[in-house]
C-alpha cells in the first residue's frame, strides 16, 4: 500500500535530518585528525602553542560532537521509523557495517571522554597523544562503515532475489561493493579537507579581529597546509568517482552533466540553465566528459537516452555538481597560493581581503559537502536500492510523518542556534592570550 503523503514527508524529513547531521558529522570525522596532528607537531617541535591549539579545538569539538551524536541517534532510528521496508530488506544484507559503525563510535566515545578529563594528568604529552589516536581512528572508521552502507544503496550486491526472497547472502561482498572505494575515500578526504578549512577560517577570523598573536598564525599555516593536501586528494578521488559513475551508474553521471545522447567525444557542460529541455548559457569543454568518464577523449559516454523515463534522476542535480566542483577547485587554488605565498613571502596573502577569503573558505567547504551529498543522493532517485527497491516502496505507511517533520525542524533549529551561541561565547570569553597567561601562571605556581 502506497501512502503518497508519508512518502513525501519521509523524504523531506530524512533530507532535513541528514543535511543537518552531516555538518556536525563532517566536523566530527575531520577535526580529531587535526587535533591529533596539532598535538603531534607540538610534541615534535616542543612548542606549547600547538598543544594549546589541540586543546582549544577539542573544547569546541565537544559541542559539535554532542550535536553530532544526538542527530546521529536521530537518523539511526529514523531509518527504521521512516523506511521500515527498506531496513527490513537491507538488514538482511548490510547490517554488518551498520553494526561495526556503532563499535567505532563506542571506541571514539570512550577515548574522547578519557582525553577530555585527563587534561593535565600525565606529565608526558605523548600519553595524551596516545589517547587521541583512538579518537581519530574511531571517528574516521565510523565514516568508513556508514559510507559502506550508502555505497551499497548505490551498488547493491552480495545477495540474490528468488521468488521475492533474498538468498545467497554474503555480507562481505555487500560491504565491498564497487561504489565503496571511491565513496569512502571521497567522504573521508572531504571531511578532513572541510575540517581543515573550517579551522583555518577561525584562525583567519581571529587575525582579522585584531589579535595578532603568533598562535593564530601558526594555526592558520598548519590548517591551510593540511587543507591543501586534502583538497588535492579530494579532487583526485572525485575524478575516480566520475569514472566509477560512468562505468556502474551512468544515469547519475548523465543527469549531473545534462548528457542527453550517448556519444563519443562528449563535452563537459559547466554551469548554464535548463530551459524546456534546452541548455542555455553553459560553458562547453569539448571531449572533457569523455576524459572524465573513461580517460580518453574519443571514448563513448552513455547518455540519458539509454534509460526509461521513470528511471532517470532529477536533472536539477547538475547545479549541485557545479557548486561542489567549483568550490573544490577554488579551495585548492586558495590554499595553494597561500602556501606558496607564505614560503616565498608574497605580501598580499597577509592582506585583509585575502584573509577574508580564507574566512569564507570554511563555510564554502560545508556548502560543497551539502551539495555533494544532495548530488549523490538525489542522483540515485527513483531508487532507494538502485535497481532493486524504489524509494516509494520503502516508505512507512504512517500518517504522522508531517507532524514529526515539524517537530524535528524545531529541534534542529534549537540545536543549530544553541551550538553556535555556546561555541562563540566559549571562545570569546576565554581568548587565547588569556589562556596562555593562565597556563604560565599555573606552571609558575607549580614549580615555585
Amino acid at each position: 500500500m502506497l501512502n503518497e503523503d508519508a512518502l513525501f514527508y519521509s523524504r523531506v524529513l530524512t533530507e532535513l535530518t541528514l543535511s543537518f547531521h552531516i555538518i556536525y558529522a563532517t566536523i566530527g570525522v575531520g577535526v580529531p585528525l587535526m587535533i591529533m596532528i596539532a598535538q603531534w607537531v607540538g610534541i615534535k617541535k616542543n612548542d606549547e602553542h600547538y598543544i594549546l591549539l589541540a586543546r582549544r579545538w577539542t573544547r569546541g569539538f565537544v559541542i559539535t560532537v554532542a550535536v553530532g551524536v544526538v542527530t546521529g541517534t536521530a537518523i539511526g532510528l529514523q531509518l527504521s521509523l521512516l523506511w521500515p521496508n527498506f531496513m527490513e530488506l537491507a538488514g538482511h544484507v548490510i547490517a554488518l557495517p551498520l553494526f561495526m559503525e556503532t563499535f567505532a563510535f563506542f571506541f571514539e566515545a570512550i577515548f574522547l571522554g578519557i582525553y577530555l578529563y585527563t587534561w593535565d594528568r600525565f606529565e608526558n604529552q605523548r600519553k595524551h597523544l596516545l589517547l587521541l589516536i583512538p579518537v581519530a581512528i574511531g571517528a574516521s572508521f565510523s565514516a568508513v562503515f556508514i559510507t559502506m552502507v550508502n555505497a551499497f544503496m548505490n551498488a547493491p550486491q552480495g545477495f540474490e532475489i528468488m521468488n521475492g526472497e533474498l538468498v545467497n547472502i554474503n555480507p562481505l561482498v555487500a560491504m565491498f561493493n564497487p561504489a565503496m572505494p571511491t565513496k569512502v575515500a571521497h567522504v573521508v578526504a572531504t571531511a578532513y579537507m572541510t575540517a581543515a578549512f573550517i579551522l583555518a577560517s577561525i584562525a583567519a577570523f581571529r587575525l582579522l579581529r585584531g589579535s595578532n598573536h603568533i598562535y593564530h598564525k601558526k594555526a592558520l599555516f598548519l590548517t591551510m597546509k593540511l587543507g591543501l593536501i586534502f583538497s588535492i586528494a579530494t579532487a583526485v578521488i572525485g575524478d575516480f568517482s566520475g569514472k566509477y559513475l560512468a562505468e556502474y551508474q551512468p544515469e547519475k553521471l548523465a543527469a549531473a552533466e545534462w548528457h542527453f545522447e550517448t556519444e563519443e567525444n562528449a563535452p563537459l557542460i559547466l554551469y548554464g540553465v535548463l530551459d524546456d529541455g534546452e541548455v542555455k548559457y553553459a560553458f562547453k569543454i569539448p571531449s572533457a566528459l569523455s576524459i572524465l568518464a573513461h580517460g580518453f577523449p574519443s571514448s563513448e559516454v552513455v547518455g540519458l537516452d539509454q534509460f526509461a523515463d521513470d528511471e532517470i534522476p532529477p536533472l536539477s542535480i547538475h547545479y549541485m555538481f557545479d557548486i561542489m566542483v567549483t568550490i573544490g577547485v577554488w579551495m585548492v587554488i586558495l590554499s595553494l597560493v597561500f602556501w606558496l605565498g607564505t614560503r616565498r613571502g608574497w605580501a598580499f596573502i597577509q592582506t585583509k581581503w585575502y584573509r577574508w577569503l580564507i574566512v569564507l573558505g570554511g563555510p564554502l567547504s560545508v556548502i560543497a559537502i551539502e551539495a555533494g551529498w544532495w548530488l549523490a543522493e538525489v542522483g540515485r532517485q527513483p531508487w532507494v536500492l538502485r535497481g532493486v527497491m524504489r524509494t516509494a516502496e520503502a516508505a512507512t505507511s504512517s500518517n504522522q510523518v508531517d507532524k514529526m517533520l515539524i517537530l524535528f525542524a524545531g529541534l534542529y533549529l534549537i540545536l543549530g542556534i544553541g551550538s553556535i551561541v555556546v561555541l562563540s561565547r566559549m571562545f570569546r570569553r576565554n581568548p587565547v592570550e588569556r589562556e596562555i597567561e593562565d597556563r604560565k601562571a599555573e606552571k609558575g605556581g607549580a614549580t615555585s
Binding site: T73, A74, A95, L112, Y117, T118, D120, T396, Q400, L407
Partner: protein, 341 residues
C-alpha cells in the same frame, strides 16, 4: 544454543547495560535539578558532574548499539516496530537530543544555568517513560494489521493500566538505581553530606520501586495470561531477585558496604530483567513476531557474531581503562580534577 537465542541474549544484555547506566544518568540529572530547586546543589552538583562528565557519550552508545543490533539480528523488527513506533520513538529521540546537547552546552558553555539543569532533570524522567512504552506494546493487544501494515492503537495503549504500571516502574527504578549508585560514589569521594542525602533518597525510593515492580506481574495476569504463566514458572528467579533487593536495602539501612549494595542491586535487576525476557520468549511482539520468523539469514548472523566478538575485544579493555581512570581513581573521585575549564 542456536544463533537466534545467542542474538537475543547479546541484545538483551546490552539493553540491560543501557538500563543500568542510563538509569544512573537519568536519575542523577533529576537529583541534580531537584537539589537546585530545594537549594541543596552545593551538596550534590559536584559529585554528580564528576561522575557524569566522562561517561555521558558512552551511555548513549549503549542505546544506539541496541537498536542497530536488533535490526541487524532481527530485520523484521524494523518493519513492525519501525512502522508503529514513529511517534513515540520520535518523542524519545527529541528528549534524548535535548538532554545530550544541553548537557554538553551547559557543562562547557554556561555552567550552572538553572533552566538547562531543570530541562535536563525533567527529560531524565520522561525518557524512560517514553522508551518503556515499547515494553507495553511488546505484550500484544495494541497492534493490529490493516492491509498488511501494522497499526498502533494509541487510545487503547493510553488507557491500559499496564502502560501506566510500566511507566511508573521505569521512573521509580531510575530513581532507586541512581540513588544507590550515587550513595556509593559519594561515599568513595568521602563526601559525608552527599552520602547521607543520597542514602536517604535510596531508602525513600526502594519501597515504591518494589511495589510498582510487583504491580506489573499482577497487571500482566489480566493482559497476557500466557506470559504471566511463563513468569510464574520462573518464580525462583523473581524470588531470588527479591531477596537481593532486601539485602541491598538492609545494607544501606545499616550503612554497611555501599559497593556491595550496588553490586547486589545490579544482581537484583539482572535477575528480574532476564526472567522477564526469558518468559517473553519466543515473542518479540506478541503474537505477531517471534525471534524465529524475524531472524536474519545465517551468513549475516555469523558475521554479526564475529563482529560482535571482535568489537568486544576492543571495547572491554577500553571500558576497563575508562573505569580505572575515573570511577576507580581515588584522586579523580575526590575531586582533584585534571580538568581546566
Amino acid at each position: 544454543m542456536n544463533l537466534e537465542i545467542l542474538g537475543i541474549v547479546v541484545l538483551w544484555t546490552f539493553l540491560f547495560g543501557y538500563v543500568i547506566v542510563a538509569s544512573i544518568d537519568f536519575g542523577a540529572g533529576f537529583f541534580n535539578a531537584y537539589s537546585l530547586i530545594v537549594g541543596k546543589q552545593k551538596i550534590l552538583t559536584n559529585i554528580i558532574q564528576r561522575y557524569l562528565s566522562p561517561v555521558w557519550e558512552v551511555t548513549n552508545v549503549f542505546l544506539v548499539f541496541f537498536f542497530v543490533g536488533i535490526v541487524g539480528f532481527f530485520p523484521k523488527t524494523a518493519f513492525y516496530y519501525g512502522t508503529i513506533l514513529l511517534v513515540p520513538a520520535s518523542f524519545a529521540i527529541l528528549l534524548l537530543a535535548i538532554r545530550g546537547s544541553y548537557y554538553a552546552f551547559e557543562t562547557y558553555g554556561a555552567r550552572g544555568h538553572k533552566g538547562y539543569s531543570f530541562m535536563y532533570g525533567l527529560s531524565g524522567l520522561l525518557i524512560p517513560a517514553s522508551l518503556s512504552i515499547v515494553f507495553t506494546i511488546s505484550e500484544g493487544g495494541f497492534v493490529s494489521l490493516v492491509d498488511g501494515q501494522p497499526v498502533l492503537d494509541y487510545w487503547t495503549l493510553f488507557k491500559s493500566p499496564l502502560t501506566w504500571s510500566i511507566v511508573l516502574l521505569s521512573i521509580t527504578a531510575v530513581l532507586y538505581i541512581s540513588s544507590v549508585f550515587l550513595t556509593w560514589y559519594a561515599n568513595k569521594a568521602k563526601d559525608v553530606e552527599a552520602t547521607a542525602l543520597m542514602r536517604k533518597y535510596a531508602l525513600i525510593w526502594a519501597l515504591p520501586m518494589i511495589i510498582t515492580a510487583s504491580g506489573i506481574i499482577v497487571e500482566l495476569r489480566g493482559h497476557n495470561l500466557e506470559h504471566f504463566n511463563r513468569m510464574i514458572d520462573l518464580w525462583w528467579m523473581f524470588g531470588l531477585s527479591f531477596l537481593l533487593f532486601l539485602s541491598t536495602v538492609w545494607i544501606i539501612w545499616n550503612r554497611r558496604s555501599y559497593g556491595l549494595a550496588f553490586v547486589l542491586l545490579v544482581g537484583q535487576f539482572a535477575l528480574a530483567f532476564f526472567a522477564y525476557g526469558i518468559s517473553h520468549y519466543p515473542y518479540l511482539l506478541y503474537p505477531l513476531l517471534t525471534i524465529y520468523d524475524s531472524f536474519t539469514n545465517r551468513a549475516m548472523a555469523i558475521s554479526l557474531v564475529v563482529a560482535f566478538i571482535a568489537g568486544l575485544c576492543l571495547l572491554l579493555p577500553s571500558l576497563y581503562l575508562l573505569l580505572r581512570l575515573f570511577l576507580f581513581n581515588k584522586r579523580y573521585v575526590r575531586g582533584d580534577s585534571d580538568y581546566h575549564p
